[in-house]
């Protein structure tokens, strides 16, 4: 603390500066020494492919080191004896640095080749190499850091008389402590890296079997063998085991076997399990495989949707495959997107949903019987967003098919102007091709006024075709983009028994019919009220002999006032409610209403929020809390100031 600084230099110091007798006189030697180290690094690590260059640089570096050490020894002899201990310690640091280089050389490739026979085993050589690789860095850092610290302290000192050894010693100690701390930090980090352990705190839960899956299992009339190929103690198995044991508790017909694929190669080969982490379902000669994986990190995504995967496999195994026909030839949505199924607006996800329910999907055009006779194997016919009207013969064929106990899903769009009156009116329904809108957008996609035609609703009827939605109406919403609406009317023809129409999805009461499509409410032509967005039509009668083979003789039709609801953009990525609407609709149309219910899933869902929520979040996150903190801070500091 009392040590003189540059600013408090004495007259003798100034004289020393004038005569060049300063500790700084040795700095060029240290600079040469450090440059030699740099040259060696460049030669070893950047120019290692050129042996000649490497050798030249090494020679030059060694020469520089020799010059530096020689220069320091010469200074030691020439300087005042009081400065000699400092010069000596600098020489020691130089030599220690050279020692580090020697240790480096001992672990280099050529040294290992020379010493190789003495190690006994390659592992011993590796250990030797790793130990020396760490040691040379530690020795080098411990030599160079104190050297630099000492030079900083020594540079301004007058070497023509006794230098302040106490300051030099403190700087040396400081440098050594810093170097040792750095070396210790690196070493401990290296060890921590090797012994790394981790905890995953992100969202993960194993899916439990849903009520729907339990109902499926309870219907088993013959055993279903489930063979789980997992190693004995496995983290994934714990999750899978609890899922299947829950199902086993629901029905003893589900028989569980836990097998290690490695220990039972014969059985694994017989069932086609090439690795562990696989579940094989066996029913008679039929087999279905579900690959989950035996590493939890990889299996997570599968475990989250285990219930859905199980249901798909179960239906494939236990049920005969059904056929769903998509009408084509009227620019239907399915037809439009065939060449670009991945784009938004296609029906790729809808087709997958049907296939998951064990349906085979086929096209139905005029050539396939749409104008004359619906194929006998049809379980249901889907009319999704036609842009061209149906021919009278086609409408008549579809109506006749329905009257005989057929099943159909009809989804229409107001912008296409197709209302299918010939098909719908006989069943007491009318489609009005006017888009609905709401003044304040309930959802946002384009962030323009067009968003007013995005219909979001959680108003559902109690019909089985919307069973899941009505049970969870507080959590699930259905989203439609540019929906028309439905009205009930007396059936155009006297059908006996009369069709029963149930409206299943209603709009919110703030919707209005945007007849002129200008996104603004223009009364009196446009009225704000509750509109009907989907309807289920039923005609219950004894099964006629001419009824389609796939049906139970009961006419069932679902009409939805928008086909965008089923498109890839809305169906899966935005609104989970849309998926449940269609899933339950297919189950009801296919006569599987006993299976209606939600599929358990722990899959993460996209966060969709309304404009009001957007605004609330915006103000809360951007202004609310900062204003609160600022207000509190100003009040507190002013109060303190007033109180003195």
């Amino acid at each position: 603390m009392t040590a003189p600084t540059d600013r408090s230099a004495t007259a003798s110091d100034r004289a020393a500066v004038a005569s060049g007798k300063r500790g700084a006189g040795g700095l060029p030697l240290t600079a040469a020494y450090l440059a030699a180290m740099l040259l060696l690094y460049v030669g070893e690590h950047l120019l290692f492919e050129s042996l000649a260059l490497r050798a030249s640089l090494a020679t030059l570096a060694l020469a520089l080191i020799a010059v530096a050490i020689g220069g320091r020894l010469r200074r030691m002899r020439k300087l005042h004896h009081g400065a000699r201990p400092v010069e000596r310690s600098i020489v020691i640091a130089y030599v220690a640095g050279v020692g580090a280089l020697l240790i480096y050389a001992l672990q280099a490739d050529f040294a290992l080749e020379l010493l190789g026979p003495h190690f006994g085993s390659p592992q011993a050589a590796q250990r030797w190499s790793a130990a020396l690789a760490t040691l040379w860095v530690v020795v080098w850092v411990c030599a160079i850091t104190p050297l630099i610290f000492v030079e900083i302290s020594y540079a301004p000192m007058d070497t023509s008389r006794t230098v302040e050894l106490r300051r030099i010693r403190r700087s040396w100690q400081s440098g050594l402590v810093v170097a040792l701390t750095a070396a210790l930090t690196f070493t401990l980090n290296f060890i921590a890296n090797e012994l790394n352990t981790s905890v995953d705190l992100s969202y993960f839960k194993t899916t439990h079997p849903s009520e729907s899956s339990k109902k499926m299992v309870q219907q088993l009339s013959e055993p279903l063998r489930v063979v789980l190929f997992f190693p004995g103690a496995n983290e994934v198995l714990q999750h899978v085991r609890s899922f299947f044991e829950d199902l086993h508790a629901a029905s003893p017909q589900l028989r569980l076997e836990f097998v290690d694929q490695v220990l039972e190669p014969k059985l694994a080969k017989e069932l086609g399990a090439t690795e562990n982490g696989v579940v094989v379902f066996v029913r008679g000669t039929q087999k279905e495989t579900l690959t989950i994986g035996d590493r939890l990190q990889r299996a997570k995504s599968k475990l989250k949707r285990l219930d859905a995967d199980f249901q798909q496999i179960f239906l494939r195994l236990l049920r005969t495959q059904k056929v769903a026909y998509f009408t084509v030839g009227h620019e239907e949505r399915a037809q439009q997107q065939r060449d670009n199924a991945a784009a938004n607006g296609g029906l790729r996800d809808l087709r997958k949903l049907l296939e998951g329910l064990n349906y085979r999907v086929r096209d139905l055009g005029l050539a396939d019987g749409l104008g004359s006779e619906i194929p006998g194997d049809a379980t249901m016919v889907l009319v999704i967003g036609p842009k061209q009207p149906f021919l009278p013969a086609e409408s008549a064929t579809l109506a006749a098919y329905l009257r005989r106990g057929g099943r159909a899903l009809v989804m229409l769009d107001p912008d296409a102007g197709v209302t299918l009156d010939d098909l719908l009116n006989p069943f007491g329904l009318k489609y009005v091709a006017q888009p609905l809108a709401v003044e304040v957008p309930l959802a946002r996609v384009s962030f323009t006024q067009a968003d007013r035609q995005l219909m979001v609703t959680n108003r559902f009827g109690t019909h089985p075709s919307v069973g899941t939605l009505s049970r969870h109406s507080t959590q699930l919403v259905v989203v439609m983009a540019g929906a028309g609406y439905l009205e009930q009317q007396p059936p155009a023809s006297a059908l006996q028994p009369a069709p029963r129409v149930s409206f299943t999805v209603h709009s919110l009461p703030l919707a209005w019919n945007d007849a002129n499509n200008n996104f603004a409410l223009d009364p009196p032509g446009e009225q704000r009220k509750l509109y009907e967005l989907a309807a289920a039509v039923e005609i219950t009668s004894p099964k006629p002999s001419s009824a389609p083979s796939g049906s139970a003789g009961e006419t069932r039709m679902i009409v939805v006032a928008d086909s965008d609801l089923a498109s890839d953009g809305l169906l899966f990525s935005r609104a989970v409610g849309n998926r449940y609407l269609l899933l339950d609709a297919f189950k009801w149309l296919g006569g599987d209403e006993r299976l209606i219910g939600e599929t358990a899933s722990e899959e993460d869902i996209p966060i969709a929020h309304t404009r009001q929520q957007d605004q609330l979040w915006f103000y809360l996150t951007i202004f609310g809390m900062p204003a609160l903190v600022l207000g509190f801070g100003l009040l507190y500091t002013q109060r303190r100031r007033r109180m003195g």
Binding site: M1, A3, T5, H45, L46, A133, F149, I152, S153, R167, I168, R170, S171, S174, V177, V178, T181, A182, T185, L188, N189, A192, N193, L195, N196, T197, S198, V199, D200, L201, S202, Y203, F204, S573, R574, E602, D604, I605, P606, I607, A608, H609, Q613, W617, F618, L620, T621, I622, F623, M625, P626, A627, V629, L630, F632, G633, L634, Y636, T637, R640
Partner: protein, 236 residues
């Protein structure tokens, strides 16, 4: 040490500047959260959380340096550093006291932003563990930023220079990850490991002992360096 920490913490709490910094950080956090994490296409809850922690990390580094810039440099500017260095406390205690005060204030500031990730609960599926892990990561990154800022503050003679030096050091540490791609092993692994960029797995909810150790040891190293910078005034 605790006395120094209390005195420094009082300086943050009793002056409006501390509140302005907190409000500013919360404002920018909220803006980024609203505009990028929640805005645009509907995103999965984990994505939203991950983006939030990514933005918060940036703000953590900025605020860490801002909070630390005054700790020693201000004493220098006001001429009270000599007084402090001649007081009957060790240099290490001075450094630790100042570091602790900034860290406590930083913790309060970070915890005040907790309402942002909790908003994801409204419509998404969030694991509390992910939020806890993320905040642990933010605190560790904050302690590293503060220790680097403190080191810069000890080197500089004015607060502005300290902030610029701290920012440059932190950026350099961050960019080591890019530099690692330009050199050969084993230096490549070393440089990559030294960069905080390599240790951000906590943003995804994965806490590794390696990352925790890295932040703690790197913070410790900079604190030791800061102590020696203060000590250097006695032997330079």
């Amino acid at each position: 040490m605790l006395l120094i920490a209390r005195r420094e913490l009082g300086a943050y709490v009793c002056l409006p500047m501390g509140y302005v910094i907190v409000a500013l950080v919360l404002f920018v956090d909220g803006l980024l959260f609203n505009a990028y994490a929640l805005g645009g296409e509907a995103k999965l809850s984990t994505e939203v959380l991950q983006l939030f922690f990514a933005f918060a990390s940036f703000m953590t580094m900025v605020s860490g340096v801002l909070l630390a810039m005054r700790l020693v440099a201000e004493e220098h500017q006001l001429g009270t550093l000599t007084l402090l260095l001649t007081a009957p406390v060790r240099d290490g205690e001075i450094v630790m006291g100042k570091f602790l005060s900034a860290l406590v204030f930083f913790k309060i500031m970070t915890l005040l932003s907790l309402y942002l990730p909790l908003l994801v609960f409204v419509n998404g599926k969030v694991a509390l563990g992910h939020i806890v892990g993320g905040y642990l990561g933010l605190l560790l990154l904050g302690s590293l930023s503060i220790s680097i800022g403190l080191f810069a503050s000890a080197l500089a003679r004015s607060q502005i220079v300290a902030a610029v030096t701290g920012g440059a050091l932190l950026t350099a540490c961050y960019l080591l990850y890019l530099g690692a791609g330009l050199v050969e092993p084993p230096l490549r692994e070393l440089l990559a490991y030294l960069s905080p960029q390599r240790h951000l797995q906590w943003q995804t909810g994965l806490i590794t002992s390696r990352d925790v150790f890295y932040y703690l040891s790197a913070s410790g190293l900079f604190l030791v360096l800061t102590t020696h910078v203060l000590q250097a005034r006695r032997w330079r």
